[in-house]
Each structure stands twice: as structure tokens, then as C-alpha cells.
Symmetry: C2
Subunit: 394 residues, 2 copies
Amino acid sequence: MKINANYLNLKDSYLFSTIAKKVNAYTQAHPDKNIIRLGIGDVTRPLCSAVIEALHNAVDDMSTATGFHGYGPEQGYDFVKQPIQAYYRKRGVELELDEIFISDGAKSDVGNILDLFSKDNTVLVPDPVYPVYVDTNIMDGRNILYMNANADNGFLPLPDENVHADLIYLCSPNNPTGAVYNKEQLAAWVQYAKECGAVILFDAAYEAFISDNALPHSIFEIEGAKDCAIEFCSLSKTAGFTGTRCGYTIVPHALVADGIELNKLWLRRQTTKFNGTSYIVQKGAAAVFTDEGQKQIRQTIAYYMNNAKIIADALDEIGVWYTGGQNSPYIWLKCPNQMDSWSFFDYLLENANVVGTPGAGFGANGEGFFRLTAFGDQDQTAQAVDRIKKLLAK
Amino acid sequence: MKINANYLNLKDSYLFSTIAKKVNAYTQAHPDKNIIRLGIGDVTRPLCSAVIEALHNAVDDMSTATGFHGYGPEQGYDFVKQPIQAYYRKRGVELELDEIFISDGAKSDVGNILDLFSKDNTVLVPDPVYPVYVDTNIMDGRNILYMNANADNGFLPLPDENVHADLIYLCSPNNPTGAVYNKEQLAAWVQYAKECGAVILFDAAYEAFISDNALPHSIFEIEGAKDCAIEFCSLSKTAGFTGTRCGYTIVPHALVADGIELNKLWLRRQTTKFNGTSYIVQKGAAAVFTDEGQKQIRQTIAYYMNNAKIIADALDEIGVWYTGGQNSPYIWLKCPNQMDSWSFFDYLLENANVVGTPGAGFGANGEGFFRLTAFGDQDQTAQAVDRIKKLLAK
């Protein structure tokens, strides 16, 4: 037996373990200090009451022979797909129910979708990047090209006609930079993808944080995108489902390669290697899309976006360059005084007792940048920002 | 962009859709008939009260900021892994906690584990077979060899020294045949795997239905198996989790290939392409392993196994050959009067109004055999068996 030798090409990421070690060392040396973490990419607010009620009801269903649900459709129940269809319709995107696939989360789908593609395909990813896009392709041995995201292009790279790609990863609003593509920019990507015969793998996990009505939430708001894109979305950040686990993936029927609908291939993949998302969780997910659920999750998102505003306002005040903070829970700032990412990490930890994430951990172009997140407690965030302001205004 | 051309080699299975069409046609022609389904592989009894209570408590946790759980460890919480460790210890199998991986189900893991292996490996599967073993390898383009399971070997094929395999699928108690390997037989497989340098992918999804104390529940009850086996288990049939979704996979540290622990590779796969099983579901899963939970699931299993006994006793009475029915919820019978699988299906549907599953749907060696399952309602099962007895005793 031989292993998949591509695994030997994976590099371990020491980003979050190095952060933990540094914070631990500092805490042990200074047990009296109150460390505030603005580095986490996980939500902290509880599930909203509409979801909680739906989850309890679903658990009750499972306690009786008549309400019990065994195997469901691998691609998800219509009772979740229908409200998602309506959610897209509100933005003018018409989807068939069988173009929507419910799963245990976008990370699974983003990884598993690669089953459908030849190992010979060339992959285009931005730098800096969510590491999953890179590692999942290394596991398959695909050739990976990087496109530069940097301060010059506002961390929103556009297509380079001289580069040929087969699979293109776009994440907007972006993790880690918080930058958001507008419609014209996404239209340029759709046009490029069609010219290349490429598929755009569009990660819309943060779409719910967009407040500017002119910005697209979905790649399918762009004309022609159904011919060349798959979209991944998630309730993780939208509705606090990071530990509850539910996402959805849109594979349009119009997306055809070698005469075959990718929708059919994904259905085959999911029915063969997946047995559906928990009935209980799907019931909770459906509640997110009710009027009550939408009202409640908007309140939680507003809470997080208030944190983002507190951070962004402070950076404006002290004249630090950043992307994100609006239409995104992430703030991606340029380290002051030409500091590199890790020096700024140490400087902030030691002098403000605030923990963030060094941009260098997301790729070469992240060097000299730093990520703060809006998912913390409001009072703690305000306190951290005060400390940062005092430190950097010196 | 090119698709994974291996998908073009997949054959659609029309087994269950053909069954549904035949049953629908019969029902439309004979609306007055009471059809009883003994073909389903899904459980029908509700979740036990210990699990329901744990699920409700977990939902309540998610409703408060202090009880809320965001991202958990991708490989599962210790609060589930510890009782699983203890569950194995009762049968003399010592596992490290990090050899246990919690997932959304055995079907996902059985499919996804193939990420770790070279496409050049040769795969050995039994015929008849659970189709997922075959289709997932066709998707990767691996060479598949079949071993004959038949009445002569009691549907329990043993290794053929003249065949070289890299990956070996064993399922015991078997789906679809209900046959169960004893320790000597599994020891022969372990020895063969070591001689080949192969990995046994052991599907133990039905282990909880074993009542004969001499029969192994786990491949790891066999000496040396930790060097050459991965085990997949599931709460689907054990505790009625087919719609709740939780399974677990054991990858021992001792399993090493090319100098690399497969445990490390699987951890890398899961941390990259999976984000853990729902906290709520894991809390429910942990309750399965409490004293109360075990008592309650044993009652449900006894309910199903009483159905199996009703079916098996009737077959004994009328002299029909079968495997399973003891230590397994499946009964795999030889179609009487030399009927082929589909002829017997039609005969049973038309003359007893009972629906089963034609063995031919599971592989060439399934021709002439037929699967009945014990997962139905007790009264309905007894009534179906009465009809079968009357029909076949004629």
C-alpha cells in the first residue's frame, strides 16, 4: 500500500500555535495582565432564540415514532432549500431547488468539491489566502498559481489575461483582508473565467456582513456567472453556526464541462460520500431564514459590526491604513512604523496586551499587515481599541 | 477546466429507484392492498430518552453566551472520545484518545479516507458489497478486485494468497448478507494484510447487533490488527442516528506506511477538509455511552433483533437457507425454487404484498438471493412473515 504522496508536500501551519505559545509565555511572565483577544475568527454570541426554539422542536420530533427522521436526502431537505431559494430571490437570483446542496459546512464543501476536477487543472488563488484553498489542492497535486493582493489593488486582485487558470478561488468579503469586490470587478472575473473555460469557486461565507446595497452578496448577481461559478455559503458567521455546523453550496445546472453538468457530478459525489446534514441542525438552519430569525441574526451581526466600527474609527483617528471593517467582520491593517507582522504582534501583546493575527501567516503578501476581528465582546473590544490608540498615538 | 474523468466510469444504481417504481405501479393497480416493507435499511424507532435529554441540554447550552460552543476540535470533543475509549476497553481494546476521530457518519469517513491513499493501490472488495466501497474507488480510478462471497463460504470470503491487494474492505456483521466473521477468520485477514503490506478498512457499523460473546465486534480484538487496519463505526444503527448523524473512525498510531503514521495523515485531512461534528450532536452521542443510554439502546436493538428472530424462525420452519438474522439486523435468504432475485421480488410483492431487496442489486454473487431487514415495526414484520410463510409453504 502506498500513501497519497502529495500529503508529503503539505506544510504545517504554525500560525495559531505560535500565537498561542507567545500568549501563554507572556501570560505566565505577567499573570496580572488582562489580555484581550481580537485575533479569533470564531463567533462568541449565542444562537438566536428562533433557532434555539426550532432545534428544541426538532429534538422533540426525534423522540417519537411519528416525528422521527432517519436518513434524509443527502443534498438536504426542501424545508431548508426553499427559504434559501427565497433568500437568493430577494437579490434577484433565481435558483432551482436542486441547484442548492445543504451540508455540514462550507469548509467541507470547499474541500470536497475538488473531487470533481482533474488533477491536471491549474489553480489560481489570491495571496494572502485562507489556507484551505491551498492545502486541499496540494493534497491533489494540482499546480497552484498565486495572484498578488496588496495595498495597491486594495487587496482585490483582478484577472491577468496572460495567466491561464482552470479553477479560480475568490472570497468576498475576504478572509483575511475584509476587502469586498464590487459588481464590475466580479464581472471582470466572470468574463475571464469564461475566456479560460475556468470555474470560479466563490466563497460567500461573509456575505451577511455586507451593508452597502451596491455590493454583490453572491457571484450569481453577475450576469453569466451561472455558466462558470460554484458558490459556497455558510451559517457559521451569519447565524453563529460555527459549532452547530451547516452550510450550503450552489451548483447551477448551466455549469457544464465536457458536456456534463457539474451539478450531476456533485450530486453523485454527495450521495456517495455523504449522508446528509443532521435533521435537527437543518431545522435550526431553516429558522435562520424566517422573519423572526432574520431579525435576530441581523441584531447579532449589528453587534459585531459595531465592534468593527469601533476598531475602524480608531484606526482612522490615528491614521493607520486598513481594508475591511465595513461590510466585513475583519479589519486588515498596515503595521505602523514599517513593522513586520510578527514584530507588531509582539509590540501589541507586550504594550497593549492585545492579541491579533499576523498577516504573514496568510501568505507572503500578508507580511507587514495584521488582522483584527469584530467577533469579540463589545466592552473588551472597546477597551482593546483604547489601548491600541494610546499606544500608537504616542 | 477538465473534470475528474473517473466519474464517467460510475454506473448509476437503479436498485432502490426500480424497487420504488415497481411498488408504486403495484400500489396504483391494487390500491386496497396493505404493502409491508421489509426492504429498508433505515431505523424506525425514536432516539432514546437519554439522548433526547442530552440534545435538549446541548441546545440550551447554545442559547447562552457562557454555554455557547463555536468551533470545536475537528477530530471531536474528548467528552465523546472518552466514553468510546471506555467502550472499546470493555472488550479489551486499548485506544489512545487521539486514535479516535468523531465525524458526521461512517459513510463520510469511508469515502473520505481514500484521500490518504495512492490512486495506484489495488482494492479488494467482497461481492456482494455495500456499493459505496466500489463507487468511491471508481471515482479515484483505482483497480478493483472482487472476492466471491457465496453460499459455499457462508458469504464470508477468506484471503486468497495468490491475490495481491493494497486496500481490503471487510464489513462484519455484513451489509447486505448479515454474515459475521469469527476471530479466527479475521485473524487470517490480519495475517494476509500484513503479508501484502495492505490496510484493512473494517466497517463495524453493525457491531452493536452482535449477541454471541465469541464473535469480535472490532478488528482490533485481533492481535496485530493495529498495524494494518482502520475501523469505521457509526451510531446510525446502534442508536438510531441515521438522521442525527454521528460516527467514529479509529486510526491506530501503529499503522504506518512509507514511514508515516496514517493517523497523522487522517488528522491533516480532517483538519483541512472538515470542521467537526455539531456540538449538539456530539452531546447526544456521548449520552449513548452512559449507563442509561446503553440500557435504552439495548432495548431498541432487542426490539429489532426480535423482528430478525421472527423472520429467521419462519425461514427455518419453511426450510429456506439464509445468513444473518442472528448477530445482525439483516437476513439474506436464498430465493426458493431457483428464482432469480427480481423474480422473487415480484413474486413476493404480488402474492404476499411484502417488499424486500433483490440481492442482485449488491453484485453478481447476490443473484438468486434476497435481503430482508429487521428495522420495521414489530406487528407489521410479524404480519409480513405470516404471509411469506403461507405463500412459500404452499
